[in-house]
Symmetry: C2
Subunit: 438 residues, 2 copies
Amino acid sequence: MGLASFSFSGRSNRTPESPISYFMEQAIENPNLISLAAGLVDTDSLPVKAVADTMARLFADPQTGKAALQYGTTQGYTLLREKILQHVCNLDGVKPEQLNLTAQDVVVSTGSQQLLYLLSEILLDPGDIVITEAPSYFVYHSVLASGDVRVLTVPMDEEGMQTEELARLLEQLDRAGELHRVKLLYVVDYFQNPSGRSLSPERRKELLNIVRRYQDRQRILILEDAAYRELRFEGDDWRSIKSHDTGNEFVIYAGTFSKPCAPGLKTGYALLPSELIEPLLRLKGNHDFGSNNLSQYVLNALIENGAYHEQVRYLAGVYRQKRDAMLEALEREFSDLPGTHWTSPRGGMFVWLTLPEDINAGPSGKLLKECIREGVIYVPGEFGHVGKPGTRPTNEARLSYGDASIEKIHEGIKRLRRAVETVRRGEKKKERVAVAAS
Amino acid sequence: MGLASFSFSGRSNRTPESPISYFMEQAIENPNLISLAAGLVDTDSLPVKAVADTMARLFADPQTGKAALQYGTTQGYTLLREKILQHVCNLDGVKPEQLNLTAQDVVVSTGSQQLLYLLSEILLDPGDIVITEAPSYFVYHSVLASGDVRVLTVPMDEEGMQTEELARLLEQLDRAGELHRVKLLYVVDYFQNPSGRSLSPERRKELLNIVRRYQDRQRILILEDAAYRELRFEGDDWRSIKSHDTGNEFVIYAGTFSKPCAPGLKTGYALLPSELIEPLLRLKGNHDFGSNNLSQYVLNALIENGAYHEQVRYLAGVYRQKRDAMLEALEREFSDLPGTHWTSPRGGMFVWLTLPEDINAGPSGKLLKECIREGVIYVPGEFGHVGKPGTRPTNEARLSYGDASIEKIHEGIKRLRRAVETVRRGEKKKERVAVAAS
């Protein structure tokens, strides 16, 4: 008797393969490969001692140990939620009550990724519209694709999303009768993944003003993904968009302990309008009825005993050095190549490299193949864009200095340049052949 | 200017409030309340020392500590997946190769709940059919409701789901041209939540035979939820349904470390047909790109150093005593009440109590109100059934001996009996009034 094949759901069929899984495989198959692709954090600076000490103290009291090993609540550990609220407000120099926020408006999630997923599930039906920066965080694009959501993009410049373009896009959508489908504006406004750029203080306020224009007809929420905010090694900390949302009406602030502390604790959070809490928790109840409780106890203690803030200060130095190494290497290797430029992030872990237009750095382009031969990988910038292949820019690359050592950053950029040269020689040769044949 | 209200997604609107959240609130508001409702595990037996020692050893080696604090993979820690596979196969007395399984067919999840959610998302479209036991695990019903999935049920007896009834239901669906919508058969086959019953060895094989009858036209997967399997304190361990699925074609085995070890580690897993792995991981990539890595390292070490198995053996004694206490108390308090009976679980943490038909133990019935007044709560059995209110049995209750102490179990059942008496007196009075009035 034959065996019928499975039929998967529409959502499953719409869920693209993670671009990153390909790079993971490459890295596993070739240990000499330098990965400037992975979104891993710097391994050597992970707070092993602080976490070990904190856990030892937590478990020295059997009552606390038991509480950490028992089920928690769907919303998250109360003491941690209180600390999160205070922490974000401290960063913004405001008091919770000025933003109409209490710990009841905070939800703890399995990394901030889960928060993005849950929010999208409670807010978005197929055909709804989400507006993002171009480029934007490609895993979130994948979430939206799986939900059959329309993604519209607004171009960026060095100050982040171009708010004038956003205003124009919304006007257009309004005229076209599609305003009611616009649910969410997604911005990674600190040291963006993938571009490394930040949204300027003026534009933060402007973003909120723009969505407020429509508030009586359509509530457009701003999902402020602040994942990289605390990995800041240069310049002032800019106030969050959330800090301007004094009624707690328009902005969801999503944060994480993965980048500034430890991804292995897999704990993220959000501060969000009260009306969203109950629907979000109902859905999270179905997903897992609460994120890892042990990690929440560990983080609560790390904040309480000061180790968390110490770690954040320490990381600023570590990541600055690594960013410097990457910018130095790019300057050394690429400054002679016309049409090439890159961003200079003041935090986070990504540099966005734009190559001459004739260099195809896309997933099926020549450069990536050549890079793998040379022993270096990056994330093709194409993944950060939406739209059909062929319509997306292919000459960009996301370079991460998160995981690679300083030595490997230098060597990786050197290999990247060699790969670019090989591809250029190939292109020139083709041109010569074409000229000769014509 | 007014403020437009949010519009939530169809899925959000279909996601019911968790019945349990109401009981949580009751318990928080009244600390003297004895909860026979919560699904919490026994707090006093949580492995505080074993986890503390294991973490101390893990973090004594900075390399391991760093690895545990870094991102893991979406599928889960390889060493842990290998141990999980071996562990389940040991329980079943088979070798992985006899079931066509490798560690590549194992996925680690945020508790087994997340696994249930992910699987439902990749397999089920609105209108698809899932068959469950009646009663069944109410949180899974909620997942299915949110996905607009049709739930059909098969009655149980003391040997679990009645396989003859299942066979009849499938024949009916086939005749009605609906076989292609039947995607999943969900069974909690060890010490079921909520009934405490187990599926007999004969019926395990029969279940697989039944779905095989349709295999050339429709692949009906069996989702075997074995969450309570290892909390066994009496009788033999019955082979899983999975252990009969020698080609790894029909059965998804879902397990968890929450019940036999610690819910705070929030780690579950599944062994599943290879064809499901890639779609499942694509979706999990969108949810969180991997569950808590630290917990996976801790569990891997707990299994390796023997502490996990020691804990499981120890728990058997703890839960047997608590089960005994509940059965004793029920015998003492309820044996004189005609029309009342209850299950005698040989593992897990739930007893299913059936009261006389005129006692409404439902969420809006008199008994629950009276119980809260007396200071005890249970989960209304109605939640375990599907269908519109009014069509579901209302005289059943799920009683948990997981969290309450032996003393509180005795006292809780005493209060429950007093509440039943008060409700019966009220009913009799009404009857007398009705007779007098007629």
